[in-house]
Subunit: 192 residues, 4 copies
């Protein structure tokens, strides 16, 4: 099975999710600075979610670049990832509109955790299809970032009820960890 | 005629439908657990419709993978299928927001039935174009699932007025029937 | 310049327009038959606009299938067409929610007319690029449908103020005229 | 790394942004001419933003046409551009619904400026990847338009508080500057 449509469909869903999130920035009826200030928390959560979805798209791009064949299991593992990503606009909006209250902030972490686990499962499904000795498996290596991210999320979620800023800070830490270019991996994948 | 744009357009419409359905999960103004509990029926219907649309996308992918040429009739049979799929967000939301009341649950089954019939018609149109002796027709075989699904929906719709949970259970049964991998068919199509 | 992205971008915009139109079917709070009946005019306009947009997508598909090269002028002529198509959801909704009142029905015809003219201009721009002796120009022939359609729309618009059902009937006539397969043209384009 | 998915993803996001902007044209409950007149400022801003987004899509198309390879930096520079474009619907709506009040008009210019800078940065990132002696860098030349546009926006923003029509006029001037075909550049890029 060819991977073209899997990529195109994922691109479509991710592109729509990014733009649906921006709809949470409700246009204010006032034309003054205060109207924009009220939107600050919603805007901050939008930026955070935009970056996280951007990281997923980037990684998804790299991963499928190094994948030759796909099968029915990979299609469903991919749909499973898209399902959790599709809940980002809801939980981003819930956290933003409630000024980072504890429960929505923890729930946001829950969706981040579920998406990270779904991404890991998709990766494992592809490794199984490609074989443990494939260039893909070699390029993936120990996948330290992929394994640490869900652990940090799992730690952050209960901390949201202690101090929500700690939880939010940890979500940002994971995003920054992925934003810093990982030249070693990229060059390996390119060699694939 | 090449099939690339037919695939791309269908991917676009299906990707948007999946993400429009999530908009029915209206962001609550409260930040407590009760707010999430109120959303439970809408969330359950979202999961069900996400899985069903995912099955359609998967099957559509397999079907066109095994198709060489398309013509004007196939384009319109495909648009006919997309029309019924485009009504999923409306009927999913109507059923979810009315806590699975009888009429919306029956109507949801009606749209499932119409989409199943439209899918069957699209398949027949492709078989006619490819010829009854084509590898596509051979791989399709007796198409038991494709013929049983609309029958189950047709039985479930009136049952929604007797007991809506029976109807809903039958919709879930059809989804599970398709989710279980059908290795025989997949391997046959791959050989095409 | 390659035509791939022009097709992909047009597919994206048209796919989104079709699905945005369905958002005008506002989910009712009641779970009875009356709630659906109230939606009947909005539903009818949705079906009409879905079919018309489907015809545009189909024709666009055929037209670009027969086009080799594109240039900056074609890109803008295409964006011009997409602009008018992008107003379909607004005018479809306005007509449907006002039960086919005269002014919205005339305005709907106005957008149909503008889109038909934009399509004609796009076609002319492509003919100019491909040359009057190109297979594309030959396949297009006298383009009777393409020339009659805007004339019928122009006649229907003022008639909306006399009797809106006449105007609406004429819009349907144009749609049916395009839906009837035009084998002669299709086979000619296929030979291109 | 191949550029196909970068193009497809950007096409998806831009196609959705264009169609999301049209959602700001809220369907009026009245069926008279006054209802349309009230929408005039929102409609004018829609047309302006549609044209500007169309220009970005056109230029993005040309730029990537002349690009061979992409890397992680280009992916992120592109996401950075898409981020600012994703704020167009919000600021377009804010300006339109407040009848071009000073602050929203200045803020709209701010987003135009940010997008212009992001586009410039994306271009520089590609030049760095392709090399200063590449055909891409040669075709780009001195890039007068690309450098003047942000300067005009930066001048227009404070002027919005003096006279908003001057600011708006300057935004239109930049758009017209790009709409006028730049044959020299196009032919150079085509030769690439």
């Amino acid at each position: 099975m060819k991977k073209g449509r899997l990529e195109a469909f994922s691109d479509g869903v991710i592109a729509i999710l990014i733009t649906i999130m921006v709809l949470e920035l409700k246009i204010p009826h006032e034309a003054d600075v205060g109207a924009l200030q009220d939107l600050a928390p919603v805007f901050i959560t939008y930026v955070l979610s935009f970056v996280i979805v951007g990281i997923y798209w980037n990684n998804h791009h790299h991963m499928l670049q190094a994948t030759d064949r796909i099968n029915g299991k990979i299609l469903w593992a991919n749909l499973h990832l898209l399902f959790w990503l599709s809940l980002f606009p809801f939980f981003t909006g819930w956290m933003g509109e409630n000024d980072f209250a504890s429960l929505p902030t923890a729930a946001y972490g829950g969706v981040l955790l579920a998406a990270a686990v779904a991404y890991y499962l998709l990766q494992r499904t592809i490794v199984t299809e490609q074989g443990p000795d494939s260039p893909f498996a070699a390029a993936l290596g120990r996948d330290v970032k992929g394994k640490i991210s869900p652990v940090i999320y799992a730690v952050a979620i209960p901390l949201a009820f202690v101090n929500r800023w700690i939880a939010l800070g940890l979500y940002v830490v994971v995003a920054l960890m992925w934003l810093v270019p990982d030249r070693r991996l990229e060059s390996k994948i390119e060699r694939v």
